[in-house]
Symmetry: C2
Subunit: 229 residues, 2 copies
DNA sequence: ATTACTAGTGTACGAGTAG
DNA sequence: TCTACTCGTACACTAGTAA
């Protein structure tokens, strides 16, 4: 069920082929003979690989009629994205900034709640050089490539801000990436490890109230560059 | 020596690790035990993989003192880039245009020679919808990420223009990508299969003389979008 | 038509060790 | 030290075939 161990090279290449066959997002009809063909394997070997991937929690198989449908699970997709991210860094280098563009919206104020917690303040100051304004600027990313790029942030190291306890409950560690907002203001992207990601949202923090400083209201466009090292 | 057959998933992952260890560009000291460690294998298995990769023509091994240095060969680098390009297309989609920006320069007029050949004209017309002006606009790409992007074009399918003979010699097939020059003029990128690539150069062709139409001279900047569909 | 069992086989691995 | 040989084993593959 779990996916703690790194997938093997063969598992990874199988997952990639499955994505190519359309099983990346939702279910796709993938016969074991088709899969075998694209992988250069027998039908039997392809069937076995699918079973192994299911046991590793990386795909979901459903028997439907006279065939089966396959879909990557979130850990399966994550494995491919991690691989892609590593490859990208090796090939393209890690120095270029990531550019994001989205529209301002009012979120659930969950990020705002986190950054307002006293237990994080000292670490924000020492890691980022500022204590964030108690609120986040939420940007909704529209373009699919922007969402993919945002998903990469989940997998990159970033600046770790450790968690803490306040006696009542435990607050997990959060992660930041230094950023430049609207081409001028220093700030950071906040990435909270959640059970359920929404990678179409970028949460921006800064020493000041960004909405005021930039005169932004819901629906306005805003650009952010994420800077590395 | 040759590399006609596709590398296996394991060969590919080994090549990627080797690049990560610095053997992508030039030679790097890579001990078989280090390689084994990062691959989760024994020293012996890593050694065997390196030997296999050398037999496949994907790496070059040189015994030096009490160790060895390893470097990927051009086919080895190519294999990794092909893999990366495929993955990129699967994950990020193939619909987005590639943006290029470079500076105009006067090349060796090799591309100009090719497009002026009568034997290609008919195919250019049917594939691209125009017969190119007998000359190319050469752009020198400066940013490393632009060069990487340019290298991807070598590996993508593109629009094939078949080769021909004129009795004296054989002219190989060339490859094009539809493009938009300076945000307005229709044209194409010309990719000639050469023994020695220079991926920092973009050769642009169009139905008109682009230098005249855009009033460009050497050293001027010019943007080109490569379009896919 | 499918999937996936069983049996047999090739091969990639780790251990030991020589150069 | 290093690389890389041989050997024995474990496993992933193909073929055949049942459901």
């Amino acid at each position: 069920m779990s996916a703690k161990t790194r997938p093997t090279a063969q598992q990874l290449s199988t997952l990639v082929k499955l994505m190519e066959l359309g099983a990346g997002g939702s279910d796709a009809r993938v016969s074991s003979s088709t899969l075998g063909e694209v992988l250069g394997l027998s039908q039997q070997a392809a069937s076995k690989r699918l079973i192994e991937l299911e046991r590793a929690g990386l795909v979901r198989r459903t028997h439907s009629g006279r065939g089966l449908t396959v879909a990557l699970t979130p850990p399966g997709r994550r494995a491919v994205l991690v691989h892609y991210g590593e490859l990208k860094q090796i090939i393209e280098g890690r120095s270029r900034p990531m550019l994001f563009a989205g529209k301002v919206f009012t979120g659930l104020r969950e990020g705002a709640y986190y950054v307002s917690l006293k237990g994080y303040a000292a670490h924000f100051r020492s890691s980022l050089g500022f204590v964030p304004f108690p609120g986040t600027l939420n940007l909704r990313l529209a373009a699919p490539s922007q969402v993919v790029q945002r998903a990469q942030l989940n997998l990159l190291r970033g600046i770790e801000v450790p968690g803490f306890e306040d006696g009542r409950r435990t607050y997990g560690p959060v992660k930041c990436f230094r950023a430049e907002v609207a081409g001028k203001l220093p700030g950071a992207i906040l990435v909270i490890e959640r059970t359920h990601y929404d990678d179409s949202v970028l949460e921006v923090i800064a020493p000041v109230n960004l909405r005021e400083a930039l005169g932004l209201k819901d629906g306005d466009g805003c650009q952010v560059s994420v800077l590395f090292d």
